[in-house]
């Protein structure tokens, strides 16, 4: 069928990929200062956390936090757009130095990355059209709920709303589009984004249930204790001197929550 030489070539080609991926080291502050650049991954379709502004630049609360971080470190910031499923792989494979991309703090993720103390939070809620009756988690039986892969909502919909059918999308824009085009009956997302993304059409939808509150931390590769300690110091100082609060008010029109945990 396929000539033997062809099979050998295919096998060799496949094996050639195995050694690929040289080990990506943990980083220290000196590494970043030496290359005078910190590459930060931010979300690009979840306003006001991360979005693309009219000039085509990455903007949002998290891009602003990343820029503030680079300013205090004295280096240039390079923002890279990442999505729910690929932000941790980008970090682990060395494409970015830090993740400031609505990464909710979970113990499962903490096995792969090291989190800084919280710089923000989000409330995960279920939204549906006003005519749909959902008062308790059991009311979602048989409904289609759109969620974005790689977010905490992916797990939440399985654990807290198991009787519903989950539609999984790779980015937040598609997830919200599914609700707007009525392909999904409900969407599990954070409150601020829903208000922002569906401004015009939001009149038809309302919040039904609040499921969880998550805190967000800046993530770096495991073993980068040096860098992590600096980031923790930066976040603590920015909270104390009001810089973080000012950014939060600018993007969320609300003050920074005073009870963000440190650990």
């Amino acid at each position: 069928m396929i000539p033997r030489i062809g099979m050998l070539l295919m096998l060799g080609f496949a094996l050639a990929f195995l050694p690929a991926g040289s080990p990506v080291r943990a980083q220290s502050i000196d590494d970043i200062v030496a290359k005078n650049k910190i590459v930060v991954g931010v979300i690009n379709d979840l306003p006001p956390f991360g979005f693309v502004n009219k000039s085509g630049e990455l903007d949002g609360y998290e891009a602003a936090v990343a820029r503030l971080m680079a300013k205090h470190l004295g280096v240039v910031v390079e923002l890279v757009a990442v999505s729910g499923p690929n932000r941790i792989p980008y970090l682990l494979s060395g494409k970015i130095d830090a993740v400031v991309a609505t990464l909710a703090v979970t113990p499962a993720r903490a096995k792969q990355v090291m989190y800084s103390i919280a710089y923000g939070d989000q409330e995960i809620s279920l939204y549906a059209s006003k005519s749909t009756k959902i008062d308790t988690p059991d009311d979602v039986r048989g409904l289609k709920i759109a969620v974005t892969r790689g977010n905490v909502e992916e797990q939440l919909v399985k654990t807290k709303l198991p009787s519903a059918q989950a539609l999984l999308f790779d980015d937040d824009a598609s997830t919200h589009q599914a609700l707007l085009s009525h392909q999904a009956d409900a969407v599990l997302t954070n409150a601020v984004t829903f208000r922002t993304l569906t401004k015009g059409a939001a009149a038809d939808f309302e919040r039904k249930l609040v499921l969880n509150r998550d805190i967000q931390g800046i993530a770096v590769r495991r073993g980068s204790f040096d860098l992590l300690q600096w980031i923790n110091t930066f976040v603590a100082a920015a909270k104390l001197n009001g810089e973080l609060d000012a950014l939060h008010r600018q993007y969320f029109a609300a003050p920074l929550p005073p009870d963000l945990p440190t650990f």
Binding site: G21, P89, Q112, S174, Q183
Partner: protein, 228 residues
């Protein structure tokens, strides 16, 4: 190499992987069967030489061939509901795939039909056969035999293109793999397993097409020079 492989984390999800593979197979089979039907129907209608119909088919083929499958899928899944046509993700995926492979197959089959010597058609009508019978018994079998390798490749391509349907939340193999990866963070292991499954699927279909080619069409998928 520092990386420690954790394939066990991926194999824990073997149930989901099997479900995803079956969905991929289902999508591919629907696409192949209905796509071939669409192509055959178009070829048959083209022999009638009605200008309006010929134009419609030409427009369909050109629009589909010149736009990306992903955009077509988005249009069908997210766009059509605005016109009141709503379908679930698997139906939307099948529709997008059938339209896509149907367009390419129509072109491929058209080339095959044109390659059948016209003397055959003339002989058929001289023998008093109706046009429908000429198409079914004389043109179609020979056309299929000529273009079978190209059709086979197109079908294997559409099998692999089912992976794009993960973007409209169809729970096929790539979608499942993405979910496994986002929960276990074992990107390398998850995608290697997924690639191996796709490879196994394409080799399986290649074998099926080769079997059909040898036993029903008297040709082979890989064109070998035959000494007459």
């Amino acid at each position: 190499m520092d990386y420690i492989f954790h394939f066990g984390d991926v194999f824990r999800y073997s149930g989901e992987l099997i479900d995803g593979t079956l969905t991929t197979l289902r999508l591919a089979l629907w696409a192949m069967v209905l796509g071939l039907t669409v192509a055959t129907g178009n070829a048959m209608v083209r022999t009638l030489r009605i200008p309006v119909v010929d134009m419609t088919i030409a427009v369909y083929v050109e629009v589909i061939r010149n736009t990306p499958l992903l955009v077509q899928a988005y249009l069908i899944f997210f766009g059509l509901p605005a016109l009141g046509i709503r379908m679930n993700s698997e139906t939307a995926a099948v529709v997008a795939l059938v339209l896509n492979v149907g367009a390419y197959s129509t072109e491929i089959l058209r080339a095959g039909v044109e390659a059948v010597p016209s003397g055959q058609v003339e002989a058929g009508s001289a023998l008093g056969l109706r046009p429908g019978l000429i198409f079914r018994k004389i043109i179609l079998p020979q056309a299929l035999k000529i273009v079978f390798p190209a059709l086979g490749s197109q079908f294997i391509m559409i099998l692999l293109a089912t992976s794009l349907m993960s973007a409209i939340s169809t729970p096929e193999l790539t979608s499942i793999t993405n979910s496994i990866q986002s929960q276990t963070f074992r990107s390398f292991e998850a995608y290697v397993v997924s690639a191996i499954i796709y490879l196994a699927l394409t080799i399986f279909f290649f074998g099926v097409f080769e079997f059909v080619a040898r036993n029903f069409l008297g040709s082979t998928l890989i064109n070998r020079m035959e000494v007459r």
